[in-house]
Symmetry: C2
Subunit: 444 residues, 2 copies
C-alpha cells in the first residue's frame, strides 16, 4: 500500500485493519424502538467486507448537549468517526451545529447546494420552504458529498489526522452515498481495503460445529496466518477465511476457500453473498426450468424469496398461499379424501400440494410447505413448529418432516431455507447429470 | 407513587421519566453487521411504552478490556444499566467476569442453576459439556432471573443506588424475561410505570404533516401539559399523546385520543399497537366474511400479512402469487386478450385478478396488487415503482394506481399497507350499514 510521505517523527497513518472506527447513530426514533438501527448493520458490514472492524456504535438522542459531549469523546479516541442522521431541515436536526462547535469550525453557506435543493423541489413540483436552506450550510474546511436521492448532502472533514463522515439518515440516501463516495475515499487514504478482506463460503444443511469439525484439517495446514469466522442464519452457515496479517494473498485465500468447497460437496452453496433463492434461480435459468410454490405455514415468504430475484417471471411459475382446505383443493386438485384422512399437515398432503402446484402452474419443479405455524405470536409464546415440506421434480416427488422449536418468525425462515436448499441440491444433481432413480411417494 | 423511606439527606430515587437508562449491547456480530440490533428496538420500545426514555445505546466488541471500560463509564452516569449478550458457555462470553470486576463483586457457583441446565439438556436428550457450568456462576450480591427458554439465566444487581440487569442474547430468551421479570421489578422500584405511558392512535392514508394540521386544534386546547409525537411507517402514521408532567390523567389522555379519533373518521385505524392486517382480520371475523389475495409486485407479503393472524383460516381464503401471465390466467381465469391489450400491470388486469381471486377462492373480498417492482435490488438502485391495486367486494370492484419512488423493499410495504387500508375502509362502511352505490370497473 502506497502512503503519502510523513513528516519525521509523526506516526504513520493507520491501515484498514488498525484504524479505529466509531459510528454515531443519532435519533430518538432509534432509542424509542420506532425504527431499527439499520445503519449499524449496513455500515458494520461494509467496513467488515473491506477489512476494518467497527469498534463501537453509540446511539444517542437528538439533543445538542448530548451530541457535543458524545462526539468530543468519540473524536478523541478514533481515527474515523461516521455519523448518521440529524442533517435535515427541521429544528431537531442539530448535528451539524453541534459538531462544528467541537471541531472549532464555522458553518458557511454553499450556493451550489442551494441550487441543487431548489432543482430537486422543482423536479417533484413541490414548493421549497425556507427551512430547507439550513441544509446548504457546510464546514468551512471540509468537502460535500452530493446526495442524488435527497436534499441533505453528506459532509466530509479531515482534521487532526482524523476523518469525519456525516451521512443523511434515510437509508436510500445513505447507502449509495457510502458505497459510491465514502468507501472509495477511505480506500484512497489506506483506511479501507480496495477489495474484499475475506473470502466467504455459504453453506446450507450442516450445523456450525459440524462444519468447523469437517473443515478443521484444511485450516490446520495454514496455522495462525489464517483467520476463520462462522456465522449461522437459520439453517445456513457462512464461513469467512481471511489473513489479517496479510501473510496469505487474496489468491491464496481463494485457494483455501476452493479446498473447503470441494470437501463440502453439495453442502457448499456459493462464494460471496448470494441468497439460496438466487442460487436456485440461476440454476433454473441455466437449465430453462420453472418452479412453483404452495405454502401454508410460511405464509407467502417462500414465494417472496423467488420474487425478489430480477426477472423472476423467467423461472418462477407462481405460488399459492393457502390456509383453508377448500382453497387448496380448488386450486391444486388436492383430493378431499386425502385431507380428511391424513390432515392438511402431513407427508401425504405436502406431496399432493407440490404435485398439484407443478401441474396446475405448468412448472417443472414445485416446493410445498405445510404446517402449524403455532398460535401465539407474542414474545412470551414460543410454539413448537412442525412443518412438512415436499419437492416435486421431473424425477419424482418426496416429502420431509421438519421440527423447529423457537419463535414463529424464525421457524418460517428456517422452513423457507430448508425448502430452497432441497431444490438447490436436486438442481445440482441434474446439472451434474447424475440422474437419481425415479421414486414417488413419501420419503422420510 | 409510593417509594421506600429514604435516609435523611440522600436524594430521592429517580422516577420513570427521570431515570437515566443505558443499554449495552455486546457482540462482534452486531458491529460486523451480521445480526441486526433487535435488542435496541425491543428494549427501547418497552421502556418508552412504560414512560422511560433510553438515553443511550452502546454496542462494543466482546473483548474484556472494552467491556470493563465501557461498563465503568455507563454505570457511573446511569440509574439503570441493561446489558445483552455474552452470558453463554463459550470462551468469548466474558461479560459476567468483566462486570464483576467493576462492581467489586465475586462470582459464586449456584447449584440451582446447575440443576436447571442439566435438566434442560436431559429434556432435549443432549449431553451437557462442562463449559456450560460457567453459566451457573452468579454475583455474590445479586439475584437470578430464571430463563425458561435457554440455559443462561439473567442477572439482577442493586448496588450504589443503581440497578444492573444482564440479559441473555437470544431474542426468544431475552424478550419474555424482560416482560415477565424485569419490567415488573423496575415498576416496583418506581423506575418504570406500571401502565402504558401514552395513548397511541394508529392512522392510515393520511400524511404526517396533514395529520398534525388536522389534530392541532384539539392539541391547542390542552396546551403544554399535553405532549404529542408522530411516527410514520410506509403509509401509516402513529400519533402518541402523553402528559409527562402527569397533569393529565390516563383517563384524560384517553379522552383526548377519543376526540382525535372522532375528528379523523375513517383515517383512524385503532388505539394501541394492532396491525392493519389484524384490524381487517377482526372485522372480517365479526362480519363472517373471507378475503382472498392475488399479488405480483408484493411477492407474497400481502398474503403473509393475513397469515400472521391467529386462526387465519377463518377469514383468509388464500393467496396467489404470480409472475408469469400464464399462471395468472390459468388459476384466476384472467382473459389472455385482456393481458395482451392492457398488460399485466394495468387497472384492467388488477380488476380481473381481484375478481378471479374472489371467484376461484370462494371469497367475499379480494385484494390484487400488480406492478413493476423494479429491476435493481442493490442499495445503489432505487427504481420508481408503479403498482395497481384492486379491491373486489360484494358491492363491486375497483382499482387504483400507486406510484412510490424509493427502494423496492419500502415500496412493497407501502403497497401492502395501501391495499390493507382500502379493505379496512370498505369493511368499515359495511359495518356502519352505509352501503355504497354499486359500481363496477375502473376507478382512478
Amino acid at each position: 500500500m502506497v502512503s503519502a510521505q510523513q513528516p519525521e517523527g509523526s506516526p504513520p497513518p493507520p491501515t484498514a485493519a488498525k484504524a479505529r472506527y466509531e459510528l454515531l447513530t443519532l435519533g430518538d426514533e432509534l432509542l424509542l424502538g420506532l425504527t431499527a438501527n439499520g445503519h449499524l448493520t449496513f455500515i458494520g458490514a461494509q467496513l467488515g467486507r473491506r477489512g476494518a472492524l467497527l469498534q463501537r456504535n453509540v446511539t444517542i438522542t437528538d439533543e445538542a448537549d448530548a451530541i457535543v459531549a458524545q462526539f468530543r469523546e468519540s473524536w478523541a479516541r478514533s481515527d474515523v468517526v461516521i455519523t448518521t442522521g440529524g442533517l435535515g431541515p427541521t429544528c431537531d436536526d442539530r448535528t451539524r451545529e453541534a459538531i462544528a462547535e467541537v471541531l472549532g469550525q464555522k458553518l458557511v453557506f454553499d450556493p451550489t447546494i442551494e441550487r441543487a435543493i431548489e432543482e430537486r423541489f422543482a423536479r417533484f413540483g413541490r414548493k421549497m420552504t425556507p427551512n430547507n436552506l439550513k441544509q446548504a450550510y457546510v464546514f468551512e474546511r471540509g468537502e460535500v458529498l452530493a446526495n442524488a436521492n435527497g436534499t441533505a448532502p453528506g459532509l466530509w472533514v479531515e482534521q487532526d489526522g482524523k476523518v469525519l463522515v456525516m451521512l443523511p439518515g434515510p437509508p436510500n440516501e445513505l447507502q449509495p452515498m457510502f458505497i459510491d463516495q465514502v468507501a472509495p475515499r477511505l480506500a484512497q487514504r489506506g483506511l479501507l481495503l480496495d477489495r474484499e478482506a475475506y473470502v466467504q463460503l455459504r453453506t446450507a444443511g450442516v450445523g456450525e460445529s459440524a462444519l468447523e469439525t469437517k473443515l478443521q484439517p484444511i485450516f490446520d495446514r495454514y496455522g495462525a496466518v489464517l483467520s476463520v469466522a462462522f456465522c449461522a442464519h437459520q439453517g445456513a452457515v457462512d464461513c469467512r477465511v481471511s489473513s489479517p496479517s496479510g501473510a496469505l494473498s487474496f489468491a491464496q485465500l481463494e485457494g483455501v476457500a476452493g479446498e473447503c468447497a470441494q470437501l463440502l460437496g453439495d453442502d457448499f452453496v456459493c462464494y460471496g453473498h448470494d441468497t439460496l433463492a438466487h442460487v436456485c434461480a440461476e440454476m433454473l435459468r441455466t437449465q430453462e426450468k420453472r418452479v412453483a410454490v404452495v405454502e401454508t405455514a410460511t405464509g407467502g415468504l417462500l414465494s417472496n424469496a423467488f420474487s425478489e430475484s430480477c426477472g423472476a417471471c423467467k423461472f418462477f411459475a407462481g405460488g399459492v398461499v393457502c390456509c383453508a382446505n377448500d382453497a387448496m383443493m380448488q386450486m391444486l386438485d388436492v383430493p378431499e379424501c386425502l385431507l380428511l384422512q391424513h390432515g392438511a399437515v402431513s407427508d401425504e398432503a405436502a406431496v399432493a400440494m407440490a404435485t398439484g402446484a407443478a401441474e396446475n402452474l405448468g412448472a417443472d419443479y414445485a416446493l410445498a410447505a405445510t404446517g402449524f405455524a403455532g398460535g401465539a405470536t407474542g414474545p412470551g409464546g414460543n410454539p413448537v413448529g412442525t412443518i412438512f415440506i415436499a419437492l416435486f421434480s421431473p424425477m419424482g416427488v418426496w416429502s420431509k418432516k421438519l421440527s423447529y422449536p423457537g419463535p414463529r418468525s424464525a421457524m418460517k425462515v428456517r422452513a423457507v431455507n430448508a425448502a430452497l436448499d432441497w431444490l438447490r441440491r436436486e438442481l445440482l444433481r441434474v446439472q451434474r447429470g447424475a440422474v437419481p432413480a425415479c421414486r414417488t411417494g413419501v420419503m422420510q
